[in-house]
Amino acid sequence: MQQKKMSRREFLRKSLIAGAAGAVALHAKPSHASPNTQKKYAMMIDLTKCTGCESCVLACREENRHKFPEPVHPIPVNWPTGKYDDWSDKREVRDRLTPYNWTIVQTVEILRNGQIEKINIPRHCMHCDNPPCANLCPFGANTQTPEGAVVIDDSSCLGGAKCQAVCPWGIPQRQGGVGLYMKIAPGLLGGGVMYKCDFCHHRLTAGKVPACVESCPNGAITFGTKEEIIKLARERAKEINGYIYGDKENGGTSVLYVSHIPFSEINEALIKQGAGDKKSGKPAMPTFTDNPSDAPEHLVKSLALAPLAGLLTAGITAYKTFTREGSKHEND
């Protein structure tokens, strides 16, 4: 017990350092804790430090290449829309999210105090606390791991793209011609497999920080446990008299952005350059807190109380019938 705690703390400390300085020396592995005791991780992206060099984009691509789809051609045309998604011959695309590009760096220019400021924003899955994409997957192919990573299983995803529709940022991207749907009724059902940043889940379980964190030469991305990162983001925001994005959005996420410019202004600038449409692969930064998979509390309550209400009503009805019958007999 004692030992486990020690090694995890050490892992954390080292990962934080790794994030800040790009150090790779991580000897301690996160102990194989049970899902209940496993700590959730998070990252802080400091927009005051990102230079837009795209090292993270390239590192992500290298690190995750082995997970990229290798579709069979020709890719089936989806009935009845007549469309299909194929990015396999556009693997180099870097200005939007694709099945082969899980992170992008967006750049906006914002006028402040008479001066134009350039802001670079690395974007990928936010790894939401209560991920609608995973909650609402009708095939259970998308799940949140104990580490807090939201991961799509490429062997059971059918590519209906519901996750993209319910993700407030439209993150997951579809590649046709791969996956389970090819074995069922290609063209009629499904349309491929959805791909997105998986928080480098294979690295987390091996005791390493995500590739993008490690690759950033400017220390713009810091990785650690959720609690640590939230604390750190608050401190940093205070320090620069700035703002946090991702702590409340969609009910809370594991990717926290810190910026000295309000996110509403960044969002506006992003939308002006065409971001925000769910299918564009270019997420905007809307400020909101409600989550599409949270049912209103009264609905959940009535659902929880329904069995009890049924039992009670049955009891009352039966009681009434018995007593009515009883009195009937007395009158006879």
Binding site: P138, F139, S293, L299, L303, A309, T313, A314
Partner: protein, 236 residues
């Protein structure tokens, strides 16, 4: 025509609450699959809301609450009043085969109790699927709560069983309706789900065991304390 009382008010209410909520669940559950946009369902007039996952999910929750209420009410009522008329019995499989055979060959069928053997089997089939759907549905609702994340294997299992049992239930309901469409004889039962009564003549020739049971009053069924005459109504 002489009629005999077959269902009380609460049985009729339960049946229609279940039917209404189940149809709602079928539609709102179906559009939880990404089908509304893909197959242009949401472009049909009046159905634009079908592509709104958040809205249809709320409807699904609401109908699920109604269904769960009705199912628990039904089970508890039947147990309290010891009314096991619908529970399957030994030999039901063979008997329902004989009944369907005679419906087709138009030969006399074996005498039935209140329900036909295949109704009892259909009931068990539906009850099993309903229980599975509600159980897996509850797991799905639970995992959607903020702060809850369940084991991925459990989520996959619940989701897959939810989908399979929905499909099986759909088949069952289809068969239930087909039974009325295909066999004229069964249509005599339809008024019972609206007025609670069924033709006495029909009951006499098809459900003689049921009538005998009420007449003899030798059972501890719901009708226990009522006398046969009280249940016969002369309706012109």
């Amino acid at each position: 025509m002489k009629m005999i009382k077959r269902h009380d008010f609460s049985a009729i209410m339960t049946h229609w609450l279940v039917a209404l909520s189940t149809f709602t669940l079928f539609f709102t559950g179906f559009v939880q699959l990404p089908v509304a946009k893909r197959y242009f369902i949401s472009t049909l007039p009046g159905l634009s809301w079908s592509a709104d996952y958040s809205f249809t999910l709320k409807l699904h929750y609401l109908a699920a609450a109604v269904l769960t209420f009705a199912l628990f009410f039904h089970l508890a009522s039947k147990i309290i009043t010891r009314d096991f008329d619908l529970w399957p019995r030994r030999g039901d499989i063979r008997e329902s085969y004989l009944i369907i055979k005679s419906l087709i060959t138009k030969k006399p069928e074996p005498p039935s109790d209140k329900y036909l053997a295949e109704q009892r089997l259909a009931y068990a089939y539906m009850a099993f699927n309903f229980l599975l759907i509600v159980l897996t549905g509850m797991i799905k609702v639970y995992k959607n709560l903020p702060g809850i994340s369940l084991n991925p294997k459990l989520v996959w299992l619940a989701t897959t069983l939810h989908n399979i049992s929905s499909f099986l239930l759909g088949l069952g309901i289809f068969a239930h309706l087909l039974a009325f469409i295909l066999f004229r004889e069964n249509r005599n039962l339809i008024p019972s789900m609206f007025t609670g009564k069924v033709s006495l003549e029909y009951a006499e020739h098809r459900h003689p065991l049921w009538l005998k049971r009420i007449k003899n009053n030798d059972n501890d069924q719901q009708e226990r304390s009522q006398i046969f005459k009280q249940q016969i109504f002369d309706e012109g």
